[in-house]
Symmetry: C2
Subunit: 227 residues, 2 copies
């Protein structure tokens, strides 16, 4: 009875960590939120790892052309896709397989969160918030001009439960892994991207309505290189 | 005259930052250190980005087989190689192109530092220090068993000169980018790797004789997967 009550309280609070860090800052899906199935990701392609490494450049000028759902899904998979269903292991390593990162996508169609399990998106807002995000990022125009902005956030508490003082470093390292996957996958799709770290954390959190446990660690605009 | 004296003092000190962060914690090459030319890196290959993303796993058991200089050079290039010689831009992005990371390699033949310009190694020690590194990493056996250990260090001061309080986050993110490049390049070469973050910073710094400005951010053992 007591255990049940505790569980109910944890669910209500939404931000309390279960032993092992489970449940820490897990984003809640709004009631009635639309889920969007993504096309199965491709695990083969035409561009080699070496080619992509050699060609990757930070791209800040984008054509005004939307990405397809296939492209969006492939990029999200590259970032955080599950590649070993029995364990839930992903495309980027995570200390203790605790997966402290969340991945948001902003397009003209709204704001979405990527759900690795089932490879799908949950729609969090229907408004185009890329302009708001650009303003939170000191007005950097590529943030509003790109057809797709990723935001990678980190929940330090998930990793802290096991790794203590090292957690913040680990989570930020993991965001760097994910970002590089996005950059290389973008090259392989004929797209370009740029890592954006200059923004006000509080302002980005407000645009995305992040929980207090989440820290926005990167913005990554992606699109067709202009010119 | 005064300017010359100042410059001499800066060179002697080795750790003073010139305006713009130049020279901050730039590692010095020991007098008479052996330079080792690396074979030109390949910018084409057989394994696609998508395949590498799908296959990458953390590998902690390695065959007792040394890597070739070609493999070592290719991995170092993937980590920090220059891909645009006129600007010095590299395989992984860096905030403000300030390049605050240093890359060390430990093999049975000694300790080396990768020099992106000219794609070469500088030998810093002739002793096999992988066992010492494993002890600094809480005895993790894959650190001593792997034929090659990378250590990525960061010099926060180089980035702080331009980005202030955000510097530490940026530098750690960049180490994550580099680590993921190593992991994916390893897969493309038929090798395996694992990111190791659990170690005593001070102990790793001592093994590598790092300057006080450098923080060891990652150890990445690489080798042929066992079994």
């Amino acid at each position: 009875m007591k255990a049940k009550l505790l569980l109910v309280l944890i669910v209500i609070a939404g931000t309390v960590c279960l032993p092992g860090g489970l449940g820490c800052g897990q984003p809640t899906t709004p009631r009635g939120a639309t889920e969007l199935a993504l096309p199965p990701p491709s695990t083969s392609g035409e561009v080699s790892v070496e080619q992509a490494l050699g060609k990757r450049r930070s791209i800040r000028q984008f054509r005004r052309q939307d990405l397809t759902l296939e492209q969006i899904g492939q990029l999200a998979w590259a970032a955080q896709g599950i590649t070993k269903p029995d364990t839930g292991f992903r495309t980027a390593p995570s200390a203790g397989a605790l997966y402290p990162l969340e991945l948001y996508l902003l397009t003209r169609d709204g704001v979405f969160r990527y759900v690795p399990k089932g490879h799908k998106l949950v729609q969090l807002a229907e408004a185009d918030k890329r302009g708001d995000l650009a303003r939170a990022a000191l007005g950097q125009p590529w943030v509003s001009a790109a057809p797709l902005d990723f935001v990678i956030s980190g929940v330090y508490a998930r990793t802290r439960a096991k790794y203590g003082d090292r957690a913040e470093r680990y989570v930020i390292l993991e965001a760097g892994h994910v970002a590089q996957n996005i950059h290389l996958q973008a090259v392989a799709l004929g797209l370009g991207s740029v890592p954006v770290g200059a923004y006000t954390d509080e302002a980005v959190s407000k645009v995305l309505d992040l929980s207090a446990e989440e820290t926005p660690l990167y913005i990554i605009p992606v699109g067709y290189p202009a010119g």
